[in-house]
């Protein structure tokens, strides 16, 4: 094979590989990206059903309830404007507590409640999810 042909083949291969990767990435982004919701988004547009999403906000003060099985809890995630009841089975992360930020991964139920399969809190105690602080900010401005 001549050098020119070889370079052409390699370039073609590279183009195919990159096109394939972008195609794969974009199609996966379409149905796999866990969308991030704040409670007020859900109040406005209704709960997104049928795929895994992330719900972010603050754990409402006094809302954590333990269930009789000893491993499940219910609590409420709020962003100041709206509230979503969440249920979760498992050991809560170390920094999970009332009146602090949380991101719950899981699914919405038809009645607007949320079943979490995973809770995320932060390594850093100064942490607040950027999305949550953004939403709080927006809500405050709307109220004023």
């Amino acid at each position: 094979m001549k050098a020119k042909h070889q370079r052409l083949t390699l370039a073609l291969l590279a183009v195919v590989a990159i096109a394939g990767a972008s195609g794969l990435a974009l199609s996966a982004l379409k149905d796999q990206a866990a969308f991030f919701y704040a409670p007020s988004d859900v109040a406005k547009a209704g709960p997104p059903l049928g795929h895994a999403v992330r719900l972010g906000g603050m754990v409402e003060k006094g809302s954590i309830r333990r269930k009789p099985d000893g491993v499940s809890i219910d609590f409420v995630v709020t962003d100041g404007a709206a509230r979503v009841p969440v249920s979760f089975s498992g050991i809560t992360p170390d920094l999970f507590k009332e009146a602090s930020g949380v991101v719950a991964e899981g699914n919405f139920n038809a009645d607007g409640s949320f079943t979490a399969s995973n809770l995320l809190a932060k390594h850093d105690e100064r942490y607040m999810p950027p999305q949550v602080s953004g939403n709080m900010h927006e809500t405050k401005t709307l109220e004023q």
Binding site: M1, A3, Q6, T9, L10, L13, A14, A17, I18, G20, A21, S22, L24, A25, A28, L29, Q32, A33, A34, F35, F36, Y37, A38, D41, A52, R54, G56, R66, D69, G70, V71, S89, G90, I91, T92, P93, D94, L95, V103, E105, L120, A121, K122, H123, D124, E125, R126, Y127, P129, P130, Q131, S133, G134
Partner: protein, 640 residues
């Protein structure tokens, strides 16, 4: 006075970096040997001054000098000495100072030891290094001064985040930073070679040890970080596709590609422009990584406090460096001569394929990591999680593994496809055997772990195949390195697949004395008792564990309370056996005499990190073998 001394050392080092850049530029432009000769000593002194600054920062941390703002915010006098020491880099400012210290030391090392490059290329390389360092000095001095004073001094510090108080994490950042900085050195070499139009095998041989060293440290850093997250966070997982994890994975992928292409350039004088391009890309990835971690722009479980000003500073540095390097590349790539040609079916061809697939994975991870930022700019809140990466990067990585078995079995320049197929018989047979065995013993598992285990078996056989019928004592060390590193990939892959296919998990509210089963184990909670540590107190569970009819042993997972800052962490207790790990976590009490316990049985999960260690060991053997051979060649030439 110590803090002021540190600040002064930092300013002097910054001034020397500026001098280093100017001397290098003028010396090369005017072809003046005397000016160029001044660059080396300046680089060495600059390295010493940054080391002095870092040493002084560690001193104020160890002495718990609470009149230094950084110490007051991130340390506490009651902390164990190790964490006072490591606390110096367990925060934003200190870790950036560590970054420039390693960069300065690397510059000094190049100035002292590098004797294979043409002199102007070496000087240009040191100039490029000074340019990189200058940006980071500016960052430190104008926006993140680690030596800032606090008046009046705090009575005591706020304390280091308890999750960071772990020996593994104390040494994790320096390891990763050596990796990042090693890549920036490779980048400086590439810039130097572009400036003096000196891209060739000699340049590649000089750059290769740096790429290898950076890659070894990145591998170690990622492996250690993964194991730390696994045992310290108590979530039983080893990879989360967190943006901060991706921030170290992306440079690793680029460095892996670079490592393989620089070998083609050094051995066969091919892939010249591509290698330079990869060096630029790899450095860009380590800068992107720094940007992601430091700017707090992404929701991550790791990121430091959000600070938009610092984010935009690093973004500006990123734009200048990457933009500048790409501009230089664009202007000079036309003058890089065509290297040697090769057939598609050849070692070079396989390495090109390896580079393509690694680049594809890198692209996917980059898209997934940056997409949320772009979406946020367009008004959509969105986060890309593990499902995306598993679905996209996973399959491509498996294709890469399938092909990487074949690469080392091919000859340089040209080979016969039919010969390759006969050489691949044993690996393919091993993979088929593994699939059949899995299918018979388990009755079928999910498709990705199934593929993973079979491919791991095939790759393991293919990896050691280059040693077949060779005199093992005369086999060069770098061949051993390649074999062991590839074997490490197979071992890691087997661990990952086994963990995702066979893990057993139970979550229970346990009463004292009640038995609970997980995998082959029976776990009984004997009681809970308080324990006092150096700067924490804990509730500790006594678990009696028995495997079948075997002897019982104890495990002690804890729930720890730190008072400064007030935090609770869970310390998992892990029993490591030859065939896997039993992982236990203590949760909260339910108020009615029961305690939450989370139990995992993870067959062969340790292979993941054993594989990582093997990969790094392979890299180290390779590095050692190369350096030794080069020394011999240099000596032989000296006596000839």
């Amino acid at each position: 006075m110590i803090a002021e001394g540190g600040l002064a050392a930092l300013w002097l080092a910054a001034a020397l970096a500026a001098l280093q850049l100017i001397l290098a530029a003028v010396g090369i432009a005017k072809a003046r040997d005397d000016i160029m000769a001044a660059v080396r000593p300046v680089a060495i002194v600059q390295g010493l001054l940054t080391t002095l600054a870092m040493g002084l920062l560690i001193t104020v941390f160890v002495r718990s000098d609470m009149s230094v703002l950084l110490v007051a915010e991130n340390s506490h006098s009651a902390k164990p000495l190790l964490y006072k020491f490591a606390g110096a880099w367990g925060n934003h400012e200190g870790s950036m100072l560590l970054w420039v210290t390693i960069l300065g030391l690397a510059g000094g090392a190049i100035a002292i030891f590098e004797d294979r490059l043409q002199k102007p290329t070496l000087i240009a390389t040191l100039g490029a290094q000074a340019a990189i360092a200058l940006g980071f000095y500016a960052f430190l001095l104008f926006s993140s001064n680690p030596f800032a004073r606090l008046t009046p001094a705090a009575p005591d510090g706020a304390g280091l985040n308890p999750l960071l108080q772990d020996p593994g994490l104390a040494f994790h950042p320096p390891t990763l930073y050596i990796g990042y900085v090693g890549i920036s050195v490779a980048f400086s070499f590439a810039v130097g070679a572009l400036v003096t139009r000196d891209v060739g095998p000699a340049f590649a041989r000089a750059m290769r040890p740096w790429v290898l060293a950076a890659w070894i440290f990145l591998t170690l850093g990622i492996t250690a970080g993964s194991y730390w997250a696994y045992y310290e966070l108590g979530w039983g997982g080893w990879w989360f596709w967190d943006p901060v994890e991706n921030a170290s994975l992306m440079p690793w992928l680029a460095a892996t590609a670079l490592l393989h292409s620089v070998s083609v350039l050094a051995t066969r004088d091919g892939l010249r422009a591509w290698t330079i391009m990869l060096a630029v890309v790899a450095f860009s990835m380590s800068m992107v990584g720094t940007f992601l971690v430091r700017s707090g722009i992404l929701t991550s479980v790791h990121a430091f406090a959000v600070d938009p000003e610092r984010g935009s500073f690093i973004l500006a540095l990123l734009a200048i460096y990457i933009g500048g390097a790409l501009a230089l590349f664009g202007a000079r790539v036309g003058t890089v001569r065509q290297g040697n040609a090769f057939e598609l079916v050849s070692r070079e061809g396989a390495l090109v394929l390896n580079n393509l697939l690694l680049s594809v994975i890198l692209g996917i991870v980059l898209i997934g990591t940056l997409y949320p930022i772009v979406a946020a700019a367009m008004g959509t809140q969105l986060s890309v999680g593990p499902p995306f990466f598993d679905k996209t990067a996973g399959p491509v990585a498996l294709v890469l593994v399938a092909f990487m078995g074949a690469g080392p079995l091919l000859r340089w320049r040209r080979d016969e496809g039919s010969l390759l197929i006969s050489r691949m018989t044993a690996p393919i047979a091993a993979a088929c055997f593994a699939w059949a065995a899995l299918f018979i013993t388990t009755g079928g598992i999910a498709i990705l772990p199934m593929l993973g285990i079979g491919l791991a078996a095939g790759l393991a056989v293919a990896s050691v195949a280059p040693l077949w019928k060779r005199n093992l004592r005369r086999t060069p060390l770098f061949t051993w390195g390649m074999v062991i590193a590839h074997l490490g990939i197979a071992v890691s892959l087997a661990g990952m697949a086994s963990d995702s296919a066979f893990t057993k998990e139970t979550l229970v509210a346990a009463r004292v004395g009640e038995p609970h089963k997980v995998g082959p184990y029976t776990v009984v909670l004997d009681g809970i008792s308080p324990v006092i540590g150096s700067n924490w107190s804990a509730l500790q569970a006594q678990l009696t564990v028995r495997r079948g009819e075997g002897a019982a042993f104890k495990l002690h997972p804890q729930s720890r309370f730190f008072s400064s800052p007030p935090t609770v962490t869970s310390e998992s207790a892990i029993a490591t056996r030859l065939d896997g790990q039993l992982y236990t976590v203590l949760g909260a009490p339910d108020g009615a005499g029961r305690w939450q316990l989370r139990l995992w049985w993870k067959p062969f999960v340790t292979l993941i990190w054993l594989g990582g260690a093997l990969i790094a060991l392979g890299g180290a053997l390779s590095l050692f073998g190369r350096v030794r051979r080069e020394r011999k060649t240099v000596l032989r030439e000296a006596y000839a």
